[in-house]
């Protein structure tokens, strides 16, 4: 892939950023019906470590599907199947028979489109991922909860009511809580599936700020249908159409000088 626009790279240079590839998708085809029809077709793409990569494309083109392949959430669908290709994350084929999806998800966290905190207290929401790993030590949990809430810019708002139900928070706060919950487990990669689509513009702006912050520590893959958002938060952008990867390049290239006609039509708002 071309690295034609160095301006952005130098401006937002992530501390952990290197040219290292953290996710390597190679000729991936994926089917929801045991291979009868492929929802994703022959997708190859390398996601760099320490950067924000955006998936864009019209609704139904398979962005979420691809994202959910990355932490094997599609395992929940009985008839789901990777028909060709491989996904390597941190150098390991995640669909190999010796890979434990549970272990994988500890390294690849996910934030969902609709904020979905558990009907538990704020504290328990953040501590959940650690608790299921068997961590009971109160001081470790306390520390992790505070740190994660700090990082997700929620600490000052909730520190006095950690034991209140998470469902009492505003939508934006709930989504930030979901982010805190995800990073509490200390994943290397955070997947975000349209994390702002249910939020108002102010709450959206705060999440976008947060993404910029988190980028220093995590590799982020974000699905969005909001093109401005993609330009604001991402370093690299992949455009999908009907289950195929049309174009993948630096964000500036995709939005300023795309090489494919379909990409240009889409980013200029002519369809989708």
């Amino acid at each position: 892939m071309s690295d034609t626009l160095p301006i952005l790279d130098s401006a937002d240079a992530p501390h952990i950023a290197t040219n290292e590839t953290i996710i390597n998708i190679d000729d991936l085809s994926f089917s929801y019906d045991l291979g009868k029809t492929n929802t994703l077709r022959n997708i190859s793409l390398e996601i760099p470590k320490g950067k924000v990569t955006a998936f864009i494309g019209p609704s139904g083109c398979g962005k979420s599907t691809l994202l959910r392949c990355l932490n094997r959430m599609n395992d929940l669908v009985d008839t789901a199947k990777v028909t060709t290709g491989k996904i390597n994350i941190l150098g390991q084929d995640i669909n190999a028979s010796d890979v434990d999806a549970i272990e994988l998800r500890k390294h690849v966290g996910m934030v969902f489109q609709k904020y979905n905190p558990f009907p538990k207290s704020i504290y328990e929401n953040v501590a959940y991922g650690l608790r299921v790993q068997g961590i009971k030590n109160k001081s470790i949990l306390d520390q992790a909860v505070e740190e994660s809430l700090q990082k997700s810019a929620l600490w000052s708002e909730v520190k006095d009511r950690l034991n209140d139900s998470a469902l009492g928070l505003s939508g934006g706060q709930q989504q930030r809580l979901c982010i805190a919950r995800t990073i509490a487990v200390k994943p290397q990669i955070v997947l975000m599936d349209e994390p702002c689509s249910a939020l108002d513009p102010i709450a959206t702006a705060r999440i976008e700020e947060l993404i910029a912050e988190l980028q220093q520590e995590f590799t982020i893959v974000i699905v969005t249908h909001n093109m401005q958002q993609a330009t604001r938060v991402s370093d690299r952008t992949a455009f999908f159409y009907l289950g195929e990867l049309i174009e993948y390049a630096d964000t500036q290239v995709i939005f300023g000088n795309p090489s494919k006609k379909q990409t240009e039509d889409y980013v200029s708002g002519r369809f989708g």
Partner: protein
């Protein structure tokens, strides 16, 4: 001007089509509400009329002295239980320790009978010969007798003589017995020393036990006699009261009949009518005098019972060879204290009895709800106490829930969260299919299969540590509870599954994405979120179980008694009766309007109220907790 908005179509009785359709559906809904209302009303009217009638019964019981005698009957029944346990323990120990001696004694008796039956002719001949003075005849008769004995002893079959097979393991004793029989003299009728020894050994061995047994048996004799005497008097009073009630009617009937009679027959009828006295009030005071006067006797008899029972029990041996005897004697020893306490209380109450004391109306209510007896098939009394039926219903329901709740919740979790599509399509309909089994079939299965299997299983020695094992009665609360549990599974399962289904997928997805396993997700997120629905499901399962009739009627064993709480957990293997069962069983036999009939209606009303409370409770839970999450 043209009318744009004119209503079209025919009108019938001033109503158009739409109104008619609306009316049709509305009236269907209305009808069911009216029917429900009428049923409730009928149930309540019939049920509440129980209390005045019950009050009347209690009043008559007091006036006729039945209340007094009931105390004595209870006391004597309790005593009888001690006697029965003592006897059982005695013979258990006897058999264990003196099997051989008892075998010798009993077999000797049986053998003698055999000899006397078959040798009748020979004995007669021998007797005549001995009386006569012809030595040749005598010699021949003696020889014939010997030959008879020899033949008999060689032919006799041990299993027939020794009918309890006590000598099976003592062949030499049996041989000795036959040998002594060879020299038996039917005229002297002397018991052989060998047999006499055996008798003596056992008598001596059981001496202290025999003494204790005699004393215990004798302790309540005076009380028993008193009971017999008083029961007779009271029964007569009760009969006369009944006669008195119908006196006016009977007299009128006879006089009416006399009108068509002539001459002597007419005279006789009139005379008979004359004999019937119509009284305003039954002379209770005079009639119950013998009862009042027995109070002192009663106290004395009770005191004697207390003393002799105590000394008798103290004399019981402390070491046993038979485990059964040891167990029974322990039961006797443990039972003494509570029994004597009850005895004192009962004697005091009996002494306080006054035939003309007022019976409070509240008592007729309390006695129904808290009474521990339900007696309807005795000519002596009627007692309506909900206690045994209520505890029976609750006990069976709890057993059922104990089985059904883990089973159905487990199945619901599996199907809803862990199973594959194919498993789901297999398991769900199968569980729901349980509902299609007619309860009569389940009951039949309970009697013929489950009861047998449980009883067989309970007799295995390696399971004897389970309380209540071995099971005495094939039909019991456990058996019924297990079947009801099975019946409750579809209800609880379906509702649970719904509740789990209503937990947003987003919760479990979030949990899984955080690295939780499926099981952790279920336990930590899904179940807590569905807990209100699950609780409601359990409650509705309880409602299903408590109202079930056919299975409990067939399988619960239908013994109307409070559980013997002293037996601990093993009460679940005792037969019991239920509120639903009693209605089904007794309703067909009662006369409309009788006290018994009303009592059954009242039981029905209690059941109805319980179901109502359970349903309302379930709805409350769903509302309350449902909003919280």
């Amino acid at each position: 001007m043209a009318k744009h908005f004119q209503r079209k179509g025919q009108r019938l009785l001033g109503l158009d089509k739409q109104s008619w359709i609306k009316g049709f559906f509305g009236s269907n809904a209305g009808l069911s509400i009216v029917v429900l209302f009428l049923i409730c009303l009928f149930l309540m009217i019939e049920a509440f009329r129980f209390f005045p009638a019950h009050h009347e019964l209690l009043k008559v019981n007091r006036q006729s002295g039945q209340e007094f005698v009931d105390h004595i009957i209870d006391e004597a029944d309790g005593y009888q239980e001690f006697v029965s346990y003592t006897n059982q323990a005695y013979f258990a120990e006897y058999d264990e320790r003196f099997e051989k001696e008892r075998g010798i004694k009993d077999s000797w008796g049986a053998l003698l009978g055999e000899i006397e039956d078959n040798g009748e002719d020979q004995i007669e001949v021998l007797e005549e010969a001995r009386d006569g003075d012809d030595p040749a005849v005598l010699e021949k008769a003696e020889a014939e007798w010997k030959a008879f004995l020899a033949e008999l002893t060689s032919e006799v079959d041990r299993a027939e003589i020794d009918s309890f097979n006590r000598l099976e393991e003592y062949p030499e004793a049996w041989n000795d017995l036959l040998k002594s029989a060879l020299t038996y003299d039917p005229i002297e009728e002397e018991t052989p020393a060998f047999v006499a020894d055996a008798i003596k050994t056992q008598e001596e061995g059981m001496k202290s036990f025999t003494e204790a047994k005699t004393e215990i048996t004798a302790s309540g004799r005076a009380l028993k006699d008193l009971r017999a005497k008083l029961v007779k008097i009271t029964a007569q009073i009760a009969e006369d009261v009944e006669l008195d009630k119908s006196a006016a009617d009977r007299k009128a009937a006879i006089l009416e009949g006399a009108k068509v009679l002539e001459g002597e027959a007419r005279e006789a009828a009139l005379a008979e009518a004359e004999k019937i006295v119509i009284r305003d009030e039954f002379p209770y005071a005079e009639r119950v005098k013998p009862l009042s006067e027995s109070k002192e006797n009663h106290e004395k008899a009770a005191a004697e019972l207390r003393e002799k029972l105590t000394t008798g029990i103290a004399k019981l041996p402390t070491k046993f060879q038979s485990d059964k005897a040891a167990e029974l004697v322990a039961k006797i020893r443990n039972g003494r204290e509570p029994y004597l306490k009850n005895l004192d209380r009962s004697v005091q109450k009996a002494s306080e009895w006054q035939f003309d004391e007022k019976v409070g109306f509240l008592q007729s209510i309390a006695k129904f709800f808290f009474g521990s007896k339900w007696v309807t098939n005795s000519s002596w009394t009627e007692v309506y106490g909900l206690g045994p039926l209520f505890t029976g219903s609750i006990m069976i329901s709890l057993i059922a829930l104990f089985v059904a709740v883990p089973l159905s919740i487990g199945a619901a979790i599996y199907v809803n969260r862990l199973a594959t599509r194919r498993e789901q399509t297999l398991i769900k309909p199968s569980i729901e299919m349980i509902q299609a089994i007619p309860s009569i079939v389940l009951g039949f299965f309970g009697i013929m299969v489950l009861g047998e299997v449980l009883q067989d299983l309970s007799q295995r020695p390696f399971l004897s540590w389970i309380p209540g094992f071995p099971i005495q009665d094939r039909l019991n609360a456990l058996n019924a509870g297990l079947l009801l549990g099975l019946m409750a599974v579809p209800t609880i399962f379906t509702l649970c599954e719904d509740a789990l289904n209503n937990v947003p997928r987003a919760f479990s997805e979030a949990s899984l994405a955080l690295g939780a396993s499926k099981l952790q997700t279920v336990i930590r997120v899904v179940v807590p979120s569905a807990i209100s629905g699950i609780l409601a499901a359990v409650l509705l399962g309880l409602g299903r179980v408590i109202g079930e009739t056919m299975v409990v009627l067939l399988v619960a064993g239908n013994r109307i008694a409070m559980p013997a709480w002293g037996d601990g957990v093993s009460i679940i293997t005792q037969p019991t009766h239920t509120m639903t069962g009693i209605i089904a069983q007794e309703m067909p036999e009662v006369g409309a309007g009788t006290l018994h009939y009303r009592a059954l209606f009242l039981v029905g009303l209690v059941l109805f109220s319980i179901s109502l409370m359970i349903n309302v409770g379930a709805q409350k839970i769903i509302k309350r907790l449902g909003h919280a999450s």
